[in-house]
Amino acid sequence: MTPVIEARGLGKVHGSGEAEVVALRDVDLDLDHGEFLAVTGPSGCGKSTLLNLLGGLDRPTTGEISLHGERIDDAGEARRARLRRSELGYVFQFFNLIDNLTVADNVELPALLAGVPTREARRRAARLLERLGLAETAGRVPGSLSGGQQQRVAIARALVNRPSVLLADEPTGNLDSAAAREVVSVLRERSEEGQAIVLVTHDLRVASAAHRVLRMRDGAVVGEADLEGEAASGEALSRVLPLEG
């Protein structure tokens, strides 16, 4: 099956001549249907640049990106805008919710902007909020919710147009560890429902929820770990504390 995203030889250079900075060099990446991929590395390693290229927020200097087998890196502005609206969902460190709209309206908005009829948009928003455990917050304003809840609303908003890929850039960066776990659990559940996800994070505890983890350094992918390779032991707890004679 064609991967959801296929990137070959991706590179990004900022500036030119003496001031040239290589942000990304020769990155290949395949994302399969329903795959949950984490990209980790220290700040400045190029992981956010990679995500921005995959999401069409920025153009690569070299290389190609295909979505469902179709090139998108050379798309014109109109097509890129359409892709960003309907094929790609974004979540960032900051929730960027609109504070004077209700939670339900926040989630509905991108669907309305994409031309989905009002009733259908409302139905989708209600269903997503239900699935993400947020049904009771639908009529409230974002400011009255906890950080973890607000980020889950942002995830619901990112999913309302049924994107092929959910792109998340440090989605737990602004949350305490309990709220971070809430958000990671939601991502994991979505991936179990078949949603393809690319998660950028410097936090390995967050990355460990993914199926596969890429490590980046100095703009290049330097390693890959497959976390699905061996069956999980299921004895995580009982091996934590060895009692010795």
Partner: protein, 168 residues
């Protein structure tokens, strides 16, 4: 396990099964399941070292039940253990052995060993995070899981350092 058994006898005498159950109640899911043999072996050794002693309690129609209690020396040993700082946790020496031997003797590719070890640590970390996320650990159990997760994070950082040193 010796000191845990001494601690369980601190309040009142108990028989082997009660000690096993006490350990399971306190440490439940974070220790591997105990078998009765382990507990009895430990009790025998403690008795040999005169840290516990036992009284036989007659039971109707069954062999006498052995009820263990702390000796004065046992109580001292328990308090000495409680009062002394524990040795810091060290590296997983088994992996370090593999790495040094693979590197120094060309027996295996250190980069591959590190990559496999990293994936194993990440999988373990993922399991622990899921336990915490599912609320499967509370109170002291959550603390011990948190401790294990922090150790794994340190192990992962250390692998990065090994990689820098040994695979360039």
């Amino acid at each position: 396990m010796r000191h845990a058994v001494l601690a369980l006898l601190a309040d009142e005498p108990a028989h082997g099964y009660e000690i096993k159950r006490g350990l399971e109640e306190r440490f439940g899911t974070v220790i591997a399941p105990l078998n009765a043999g382990q507990v009895y072996t430990t009790l025998q050794r403690l008795q040999r070292d005169e840290l516990v002693t036992d009284d036989a309690v007659a039971q109707r129609g069954r062999p006498d039940k052995r009820v263990y209690r702390l000796t004065e020396a046992g109580r001292e040993a328990l308090h000495e253990w409680l009062g002394a700082p524990s040795a810091p946790t060290r590296l997983r020496d088994d992996f370090f052995m593999k790495l040094v031997l693979a590197h120094g003797m060309g027996l295996a590719d250190p980069a591959e060993l590190i990559a496999r070890q990293r994936a194993a640590y990440l999988r373990s970390l993922g399991e622990l995070e899921r336990v915490l996320a599912a609320g499967g650990a509370d109170g002291t159990t959550a603390l011990v899981v948190e401790g294990a997760a922090l150790h794994l994070e340190a192990d992962l950082k250390w692998l990065d350092r090994c990689e820098e040193e040994l695979t360039r």
